[in-house]
């Protein structure tokens, strides 16, 4: 397996909540079919978390009770740097839920208003979360310190 393939495979590994990392058998197939992927849908009620329909007509069904992307895996749609900041900005209890809400809203905004609007929304939310997490004062102090270093103020 090439370095590039290994890197992409890691991005497609999923983790069962509470059970540690779990490499689904289908992750390699998902990787291989990424470019041919034409539809993916979830049907929790039927016990199928994700059904992937490939261009060649084959179907992959992921059955996993509860799964989430690994912490170091950034959502492809949202800005990568912002996704890396999220674990530091969110309280542990709401980490998965808020990150999911952000992803859902980001996709919705991107579909309706375009990606630049969605990116602005995303960074505005990140800014708001940072203010709530650390309060305004340390952020202001950090920005001031950076400006002083950068411009000699």
């Amino acid at each position: 397996m090439s370095k590039r393939q290994r890197k992409r495979k890691r991005r497609l590994n999923w983790r069962v909540e509470g059970d540690g990392p779990m490499d689904l058998e289908t992750s390699t197939e998902l990787l291989a079919s990424r470019r041919n992927l034409i539809a993916a849908q979830s049907n929790i009620d039927a016990g199928i978390d994700l059904t992937v329909l490939r261009a060649d007509g084959s179907v992959i069904a992921l059955q996993c009770k509860s799964w989430e992307p690994m912490d170091n895996v950034a959502d492809e749609a949202m800005p990568e740097f912002g996704c890396k900041l999220l674990p530091f900005l969110l309280p542990r209890k709401h980490r998965v839920a808020i990150a999911g809400d952000l992803a859902e809203e980001f996709k919705s905004y991107a579909a309706h208003w375009g990606r630049p609007y969605a990116v602005r929304f995303f960074w505005w939310e990140i800014f708001n979360l940072a203010i709530r997490r650390f309060s305004l004062l340390p952020i202001g102090a950090a920005v001031t310190a950076w400006l002083r270093r950068r411009f000699g103020w």
Binding site: W14, E17, A40, Q41, S42, I44, D49, L50, S66, W67, E68, P69, D75, P91, K93, H94, V96, A97, I98, A99, G100, D101, L102, A103, E104, E105, K107, W124, E125, N128, L129, I131, R132
Partner: protein, 108 residues
């Protein structure tokens, strides 16, 4: 027992959660709030209010199933409990009392 107060935004979030019923989680709550209040509420603000409401015992939450649309991340659903309904009722009565005897709408 000390009565737990309900802030303005908390009241709006609690009412919206009650209105949404079994579909109450972050995104629909935020959208409904934006639609009814006529201004955008940030996700952080909504969750801060929900966390306070949960600490007061007005709502309970649980993690739902993960969906592909959210990158495999689970939703946290909220439900208004009896103390929350009581607090909403008290807030409505308090507002009605304040309005009593005054003409509805802005003064001419």
């Amino acid at each position: 027992m000390k009565r737990r107060s309900l802030g303005g935004f908390e009241q709006a979030v609690l009412l919206t959660t009650h209105r949404l019923g079994s579909e109450a989680y972050g995104v629909p709550i935020r959208r409904e709030l934006s639609k009814r209040l006529g201004r955008e509420a940030s996700i952080g603000a909504v969750y801060t209010a929900l966390e306070r409401l949960e600490a007061k015992g007005f709502v309970t939450s649980w993690l739902g199933g993960a969906t592909a649309q959210r990158g495999g991340r689970a939703k946290r659903f909220y439900r208004v409990e009896a103390p929350g309904l009581l607090a909403l009722d008290e807030a409505r009565m308090a507002t009605a009392n304040l309005w009593e005897g005054l003409p509805a709408g802005a003064p001419a």
